[in-house]
Symmetry: C2
Subunit: 299 residues, 2 copies
């Protein structure tokens, strides 16, 4: 029941984001084909976790979420561009994404590359366009850029491609890769919300909490994803645990075993929950539930 | 002689930019392979016209160029990313760029896509990191984002790909395509320099002049490029004027003839020069010479 309530909350937040994403796209002046390609991937579904994290952290710290809808949606623009480029034949070569043909299967490779480029570029226009004092906007946009770029998400994708071709991979390498490839943007989604809330008095301690929370749920999310791959495989395919190793893919379960993976995920969630100790209100409840929801997915 | 002096000035400016580009790359924390791929294209040469325009406009309006070197270099990051992505097999499929193998021929398609993504993302980090009041930084960064994205450069590349597949193309379509694909970033290179110089009192009229100058030299540059293609072809290959039509490529000479193309380019240069009337000093001289240099290339 509590879980049902959380899922309803999550859905309501996603609806809010989707409405704003559509509004942004309507206002975009671009060649029709490009706009369609951008909209196709942007509105293909997805839980909108990154903007939701940003809005919840900002509002928990006292900032009205309506003031930073553009900023929050920019995080989804960045996430979507990264999925489009990752799916390209030269990269992961995935024909499907969220049950639909991937962008390049529908619009062709050239348009998929350009739609990704346009989404990324527009994300900065969105980040820099919110009724927030410019010093905070600038600071928040800079750290998002850092998290999304060569020393963050793009760097992580490079490491991922490099690890695929390696004979042996250790836990540290996998952790670094995930921390950059998916962790950095999740972390900065929380942190940027807190930075924007500096307008209404959020402190450096609040920023640390947001960053720490984001880091920990990002890590737990990845571990659970790896675990679900194994469990899913076992149930559906009867594939034994550890067969991922033969495919050359190193995951948490293949590197440290299922049990230790669970423990590591639970530990991260506990640390994330601790970061919320000083706060209260419905955003705190939501962020608590979100952290707990990550771990219950694997039970 | 005057032309030699201008070329020496141009070289000196390019050296200044190159030094700063190298410094920026040295400070970049990224996986080695990614960094090498980014550096390969960024340091492959090029006239550095966009940062040079930005710095000259800013300094002509009273701003010390040293304060905005990051911003100016960001324009070269954006230009370089666009070249890497344009050269990809799915796009223009060019194996060479500036006499060297294109990025994907050296580093592979995946890395070329990611290097482009990283250059674009980092350009915003650079734009937002200059000792300039944040309101001006923010304004300048936003218009660069607009000029580089779906309603600017990326949109122009989409139009270019679309025009290639059309049976008949008119002048207006070609002009719109060029205005977006190359014009928008050249224009905004001048305009952003003027916006940053608002810190030291640059007026809205100055902004208009910078924008207008950039728009006109961008147009002239494209026309002369088209003319040089024809003249170059005639001299080197003995290919008759107009053969571009058979290749399906619409250019200014193929659409309105050589003479009218010259006239249009000269007209644009005259308008660009008019924008400099109210100013003086060595930056004015340089910007004048630059405009005139564009047209003399075709004589």
């Amino acid at each position: 029941m509590k879980s049902n309530q959380f899922k309803a909350d999550l859905k309501a937040w996603a609806n809010l984001i989707n409405t704003h994403l559509k509004r942004i796209l309507e206002g975009l002046n671009a060649p029709l084909g490009l706009k369609q390609s951008m909209a196709y991937s942007l509105l293909a579904g997805g839980k909108r976790i990154r903007p939701i994290l940003c809005l919840n952290w900002a509002q928990m710290l006292g900032l009205n979420k309506e003031k930073i809808l553009n900023f929050a949606c920019a995080l989804e623009f960045i996430h979507t561009y990264s999925l489009i480029h990752d799916d390209l034949p030269a990269m992961d070569d995935d024909d499907f994404r969220r049950g639909k043909p991937s962008n390049h299967k529908v619009y062709g490779e050239a348009m998929a590359i350009l739609a990704g480029d346009a989404l990324l570029t527009y994300s900065f226009e969105l980040m820099l366009d919110n009724p927030i004092p410019c010093s905070f906007l600038l600071k928040a946009s800079r750290i998002v850029s850092k998290a999304a770029g060569a020393s963050g998400m793009v760097g992580g994708q490079v490491l991922d491609l490099e690890l695929e071709n390696k004979d042996s991979v250790n836990l540290e390498q996998v952790q670094t890769m995930h921390r950059l490839k998916t962790g950095a943007l999740i972390e900065v989604s929380c942190l940027s919300g807190a930075i924007l809330a500096q307008e209404v008095g959020a402190s450096n301690k609040d920023l640390d909490k947001a960053k720490n929370y984001g880091q920990n749920i990002g890590l737990a999310f990845q571990i659970i994803d790896d675990i679900l791959d194994v469990i899913g495989d076992e149930k559906k395919l009867g594939k034994p645990i550890g067969s991922d190793i033969k495919q050359g893919k190193s995951t948490y379960p293949t590197l440290i075993g299922l049990e230790q993976s669970y423990d590591l995920a639970q530990q991260s969630i506990n640390q994330a929950l601790e970061c919320l100790d000083d706060y209260r209100g419905q955003e705190k409840d939501f962020l608590q539930n979100l952290a707990q929801y990550i771990i219950t997915r694997a039970h």
